[in-house]
Every structure is written in C-alpha cells, then in structure tokens.
Amino acid sequence: MWSCRQASKRWRNFSQWPTAGIEIEAIEKRGADFDHVVIAQIDESKPHPNADRLTVCVVDDGSGTKRQIVCGAKNYKVGDKVPLALPGAELTGGLKIRASKLRGVESEGMLCSPKELGIAEDAAGLLILSPEAKIGAPIRDLFSPDTVLDVEITPNRGDLLNHFGLAREIAALTNKTIRLSSTSADGAPALQKQGVGISASRECPFYSARRIENVKVGPSPDWLRAKIESVGIRSVNNVVDVSNFVMLELGQPTHAFDADKLDGDLNVRLARDGEKFLALDGKMYALTPDNLIIADDKRAVGIAGVMGGEESGVTASTKNVLLESAYFLPASVRRTARDLNLPSDASYRFERGVDPQMIFAASQRATKLICEVAAATPVGTIAVAGEVPPNPPDVSIRYRRADELLGIHIEPATADAILTRFGLRIVKQASNLPVGSDRKLETCATWKIPSYRRDLQREVDLIEEIIRAHGIEKVPGEDRSRFTPLSAADRNYDFEAKLRRDLVALGLSEARTSSLIARSEVARANGAIQLRNPLSEDHVALRTTLTPGLLAAVERNIRAGAERIALFEIGNIFTPPTGEQQRKLTMALCGQAASLKNWRAQKKRALDFFDLRGALNAVGNFEFRRSKQSGFALSAEIFHGSDRIGHGGQLSSGSSFGATTAVLVAEIDLATIAQATEHAERFKEIDRYPAVTRDVAMFVGPEVTHAEIVGVIAAANEPLLEKVELFDLFMENDAKELSQTRKSLAYSLTYRDKNRTLTNEEVSAAHARIRERLRSDIGAELRE
C-alpha cells in the first residue's frame, strides 16, 4: 500500500503505472477534498413552517453574514459545528449545491452528513465536528485529502516494498531525480565492534544495535499515528510506531528491544532443537536449528527477521531501547516464517531481500524519530557485528542480443540511458568484442548493479528493464506461424472431441467434476491417494473412478427437479499406489426417456439399461457380460473384443439416493478404444440388387436369450442372409404358472445376393432352413 501525496502530477492519474510494471489493485480516496465546503456553527434552529420533518437553521459560516439553511437532520443542537456546503459545491456522487427554496423557505446551502462527504457510510444525520474546529475554514483542513494505492509488488522486487523505493522506481520510469532527505550522514554514530555478536554468519552476515536512552514511551503523535494507520498498521506506541514507519518509508525492518530486560550482549545464532520462545503475539513457539534467533545470555529474545519476544518488547515502562537493524538471509527468514506459520511485515521484506545499504540509514532515521517523538537521547556509538553484504555482481549486456530477444532495435545509447536511470553504472563498454561460442563480434557493456537490485542477475534481466522503460507497446506483433504435424496428444484430443459430439447428439450433456474427492468418499474409493495437506474436507484425495462424481451430479439434478438426466464425463483417474493417470468415459442416465413435454410425444417411458447400452453403442461395438457387483441391481462387464474395458448397469435402489426411476451408470477405459478407432473406414460397394425380407416370430422359454437366438441363426451359415433385426419382444403373461411363461420374439431377416436379384424360391428355402434350426436347436415354437 502506498500513500501518494507527493506523486508527481503526471503520475497522479496512475494510468501509466501498470504498463511500466506496477499493478495497482485498488485506489482509495480518503478525506474530504471539496471546494466550497466550510466549517459552520449552528446559531439558531426553528421548525419549518410548511414541513414537519424539516427545520430552518441560521448558521455562521465565518464570512460575517449569517446564512439560512433548511435541514432535514435531527442529530444536532444549537452551537454544534458542522460541514456546510455552499452554493457551487459539488459533493460525492456529483450532487451540486445551489441556493433554492425548500417548501417555500430559502436555503443558502446544505449541511452535510458523513456520507455526503464520502468519509463514512453514515447518512442518518449531520457530521458533528469537534468544538475546536475553526469556523469558516475549508473542510479539507479537518479531513485532509489523500489517496491510498493498493499496489501489487511482484516477489522479485523487494526494493519496491517501501515508499522511498517506489518513488525511486517512478522517478526512474519518468526520468526524474529523487533525493532522500532523511538519510543524510550528519551525526552518524561511530561503529563499535562489540556489544553484539554473530554465531551464524551465513544466515546473518551483518547485525547492528543502537542504544537509545531515557525514552518516554507513550501514544504516537497524530501525524505518526495517521501515517501508519493509513496503510492499515495498528498504532501501538511511539517507539514501535517509529520502527514500523521507517520500515514503510525505507524498506528496512528494525526492532526495538527494552534494553533493561536483556541479560548481557545480544548474539545472533541458530536456535537449539526444542528451544522455547514466547513471541510478541503471545504464543509459545518450539524452535529448531533451522530457525535463526536473536538471544541474550539467557534466552531467545527475537526470531530473526520474523518477530520479537514478548518479554523483551517495548512497553509503557520501558526506559532504554536497543534498536536492531540487520541483514538476514532471505531463504532463512522465509523458511522460519513458513515453518512457524508466522508471516510478518518484516519477514515479508527480509525474504524478498532488503537493501544492505539501507541498514544504517534506517537505524539513523528511526533513532532520530524516536528521539523526536519520545524525547530520548541516543548513545553516540552503534554496536555492530559482521560485514555489510557486498553489492551484487556486475552484469554484461550485448545490445544485439537485446534487439534479437525483443524483436526491435533499440539504440545502445537509449538502452544505456534507461539502465542509468534505474541506478546502474556502466563499468566497461566495448565494441567488436568476440563473444559466445561462435566468437561473434559484439558491442557489449558491463554494468554495476545497485545494492537494492539483487534481482538483476543476468543479461535478460537488464533486457527486461530496458523494454519495461522503453515501452512494450513499441514492439510490433509479428506472425510466427509454422507447419506442425499432428502429435499423439492431438490424436487423443480429436478422438475425444468426436466422442463428445456423438454423445451430445444422442442427448447426453457433458459434465466436468473435480479430480479431488471428499473425505466422505475416500472410504469407498479403494486406496485412493490422499493429499498430505488438504485444505477442506471436500478435497482430500485423488479420484480412482469418475462414477461417484458423476452420480453426485445426477443427485444434484434430481433435487433440482430435472425430468431427464443424461450426463457423461471424460476425465482422468489416478490409480493407486502410483497415481498412474488413466482416461475414462463415464455416463449416467436417470429419469424419463424424453423430458420435452411435446404434443406429439410417445407414451412416457423411464430410461433403462438399454438406453445405456444404446449410448455406449455410439462409442463402439461392445459386448456385455452379466456380472455381480455390490450396489448394482443389474450389472455387466463391458468387453471390447477380448479386452474388459469397463463396467456398467443399473444401481440398486439403496445406492440410488431416492431416485424414483432407475439410475444407470457405466464407466469405460478410453485408451483401448482410441487405439482401435485410428484406422480409416474403407468404401464398400453400394448394393445394386434388391433385398428380400422375411420375418420369423417364435415363442421360446424365458431362459433363452436374444444372443443365443442370433447365434443359432448365424450358425445356419446361410450365404444369402445379410441382416437379423429384432423388432418385437414380449412376455406371454396369461400363463398359469411362472414355469410356463414364454417369451415371444420376432425377427426380420434380410436376404441379398450382391450379384443378382434373388428368386422367391431360394429365399424361401433358406428361410425354411433357418426356421428348422431354431426349432431343433432351441425348441422355438414358430408362429405363422
């Protein structure tokens, strides 16, 4: 967050910020920035002659002449000071104020509510101001206008997590200069290599602490409180607030210890395994040797870069302060903040890398401010240990490489000017240097990187700075299309796209359910791989089948009152124990065969097993073998040739969540089918001679299946028989006993010879032979 009262005029409209890489997430206007709105005092108030709910006030606006204002509010008394909008004022929402008559009484302006000034939501009554408010003064004196920007800073730009850094960036982008008034070297303390120590120099290369004495801890002055509260930080006391203020201003977190509560010198070390620490948030933390801490002779007093200790914090009774300003290894701070689940404003900055050159500046700035706001005196020396981390290594750039990567030519002089604006300094420039594996002659330059830009590590980083400042909009879009052969993934995609279209044409809609399943489903999903760190009970494991997810969608649609539910999903499952990914197709049907209430509709019929079979026919020619499976009333294994590719059937009523019609579901493996359908269809000659159709109707025992009958017909091996179609089926239900129940089936048999027209006699002969087979092989009672 950034408060931008000082931003240059041109940059106040903010529209350029995003295109230079600073994303503004929100712009919040604060205060009351209105012309012609002044502080006025109510001198008189009497009822409106023509309106019960209005009053007529006489107010003093400081001009010497009293004004008459008609007012609708009730929350004031005579003598109160309130905001007065004079004629000509324009308030929130474009409300324009002019002198007018209200119910016959002249009103020379309007007394305002908080909402009308845009400073609070309260619209019920007038904004009553403090008795000290100056009559006639502009309202903006009391509610000074400000704009708070919520800015997204990317993780590589820790240097922008403070007001000075962001101002420096904007100065560079707008080619302005910036000066930092508060970091003058005046009165710099002498360094003293004692009083603090470092035992973990990798995690903490440099540490400083300055003693500030006779501190009067108390509430912060208004300006300080307002500043830190404007960006959402709670005011604690003047010392802590200064520490936070300096962090926001310069980006370097500091920490104030109560010097009198420390035993001996401070030492920066790794925690002992299991070492206990009571942090400022009042919680006890168990530490590990991964955690860097600040300790006195007896105990840990702070987690480095993360949070201070409860027992050594600054309180109202603190007399002397020890002010820490240090550099901690970003990775170490990050790991500790993450492991302890203790992110803080300080850790956020340390883990993104603070500017080592700012350590002393921040210490001095904070010392100066504490002395100002807490009437304290600093000691003249600052205790230090370690070495300030060196500046980042130099980086070279080849100008031709920049042009190639960007796709436009940028003059080296332009590039140099940009890098210079960002604070880089040219170390060495050379033309015609043999560079790279091909020893090409190149113009290059080597640049010194400023201490705060640790993200500039290689050539591309410099190229990015150049294009960011130069303007990405100056790069024209180029066409780089090219020939590309189909990949295996393309083939899979095309296969599935066709499958989707086919199923949609059959009336099924596509569902997409989550790959993550709920805790309640895990027990049923045999061995499903569970997440180590789920966030909610709804997503705890990887699905091993698509069926439960699709059935949940069916259930949801039943509850929503859908008459006909026909869904399919194509998706991945994750087979334990390895989580091998497999592509599945699942379909689920429930409800009426047709939900459209059409005036020509056939009689209503519920979807059943044969609708499921029919839908699967759109996918491939499958064989169904009866099986037993718990949860299913009717269950079948689905075969593609000799491969078992899935399973389907009708759920038992206990498993079908109260659906009033059958719930059908099938899940099949897609990989096998995708492979099988890859070959192209071939032309078959279109029949030139007519076919002859003969029907055969029969009674058979209830146990004889359609498949057996078709098998018998096929076994007759009649060369002229082209096609067998079942067109009628019913159970004879007038039998006295169940054992006498017979099944009636009627088939249409098509005969054809592709080279000639058949004679009636030869068809009759063939048909008779088939009838005889049916009679003899399965005891069919043939009907005429």
């Binding site: 190639e404 879009g477 180029e478 189909l486 790959s515 966030l535």
Partner: protein, 337 residues
Amino acid sequence: MHPLEQLREDALAQIASAPDERALEAVRVKFLGRGGSVAQWSDKMKSLPNEEKPVVGKLLNEIRAAVTAAIGIRAENFRAEKESAAVANIDISLPGTSHERGAIHPLTQMLDHSIAVFRRMGFALAEGPDIETEWHCFDALNTPADHPARNEQDTFYLPDGRLLRTHTSTVQIRTMEAAAPPIRVIAPGAAYRRDEVDATHGAQFHQIEGLYVDEKVSVADLKGTLEFFLRELFGADTAVRFRPHYFPFTEPSFEIDVKSSALKGGEQWVEVCGCGMVHPAVFEAVNQSRRDNAYDPEKWTGFAFGLGMDRLAMILFDIPDIRLFAQNDLRFLRQFA
C-alpha cells in the same frame, strides 16, 4: 364446323364445368371410354371415303390427346384442392417435433475454441501428468527452494513428496525433456491450488499452456501470437495491453489485459494471460535433465504463456461464479448448448 370440332368443344366445355372427380370420370367415359364418342367416330371412319380418312384420323388423334390432357389437368386440380382441404385446418404455429440434444460443458467449449485458434497458427497439442515432482513444478522452472514465488502453502502435496501441479507450465519441461527444439505446443490441462474455494477460486482449475522455442523467437513474436489469439477470441476490435510482470520462469514477463466491447463492462481492462520469454535458467535445467546441450540458451529462445480457461469462460460467457462449472446442473449446462 366439322362435327368433330364440335365434339372437341363439347368435351372441353364439359371437362371445364365438371363439378367433381366423379363428374369428370363420367365425361371421360362419355368421350374416351369404350363406346364413347371418340370410339364411335373411329368405327365410323371405316365407312368414310378414302380421301377423308387421313383428315378425320388426324383430327381424332388430336382430339383424343387434347381431351386426355384437359382431363389430366382438371383431375390434378381436384386432387390438389382435396389435399389442401385436408390440411387446411392444421395449426402451423404448433411446435416442431424435436430431438433432445445434449450440451458440451462450457469449459470444454472454451478449450475447444482456444485450441482451434492455436492450431490454425501451427501449434500441436502436448500433455503432462497432473501429479508432478517438485522439480518439474518448481526447480526446473527457476523457482528453487526458499524462493519467494515458490508457494508451498498453496500447493497440494502427496504423501510421497510429489505434488499436484500448480500450473500447466510443468508441461513446458516435460515437452523439452522429450524432444529437441524447435518446439511449438499448447498443453490444455488441469492445475490445482490449495486455496479457499470462493466465487473466483477453485481447488482445481484449467489452463492452456503454450511454448514456442526456435531460433530468434522474440517478444514481437510473443505479442503477435497472443494478440492474434485474443482478437480471435474477443473480437477484431479488442484492445490488448501487455503489462510488465514477474514470473520466475520467464524474463521478460508480462501479463496481458484486454478491453473489448464484446464483454460486459467493456471499458475495463481485464487480465487474461501471463506470458514471457523463456528464462535461460529453464533451458539450463532442461539441459541438465537431458544431459545434453540441446537447449543452448545462446542458440534458442522461446516464449511461453498460460491462459486460465475458467477465467476466460467466465469473462466470455458472463458466468458469475466458478463453482457453477463443477456443479453440472443441467439448467446451467444447457444454456451453452
């Protein structure tokens, strides 16, 4: 007038005045039937003098043809009238017979549409697994341990230390491990984020990753490709803005905003894509994994991008809540049929 001429006139007049099909049939029998007028004349012709025979014969043929044609036309008129009368009362405002089609999920439609555009530009599809190693998801993408952009908090881990990919950028690595440059692929797929589920965040979301590696691929190529894609998606008059951004695995990196009259609230910039030039460190990681120098960063450059399909579908179809995608309510799905 020759009596035959008279016969013709009579016949045609009677055909014209026949009130119905039966009357017309009577006329036909009377003139053309066995023993009808024409037949009688044929008989009579035998007794005519030889020189008259051809004249009468010709006339008879003409009359037979003319009467037959007139009867045919009149009969067709009767049939047409009868058919019209039969359907005169049909209410053609009745709804047509319909067959219920299903609907393709809006996310799939979004994917299909996007894939079609990229295919026209010569991108092939690529795939990678949802369950990934930390190396493919983070390290190889220039996001080593303790990198501020490596957000383990937002990552779902499996007990064996693998994870659910947090972005489809993993397919960049998978593709480069498997094949040498040039590479020109898009990879549609699911990604996962350990995030509170709300109107704009799901635990699982869908992306299309894109990767193009070739000699002399530039920011200009990246811009051209994605500008083309976004204008195909949102309309030719779409304004496209590239905004410098940061991703560990691209440098320079950009986010793309669009502004289009086709979208609700068309005056707002809407963020639609993250992209950038492949970071040389990514090529170096791939080379290390391949144990060769196939992706020499000095020789090859590339661009990569990631498009959020859920977000794009929400923008394009004006869908207010991401959770609608996973609910599969037919009343929702069928809106996009």
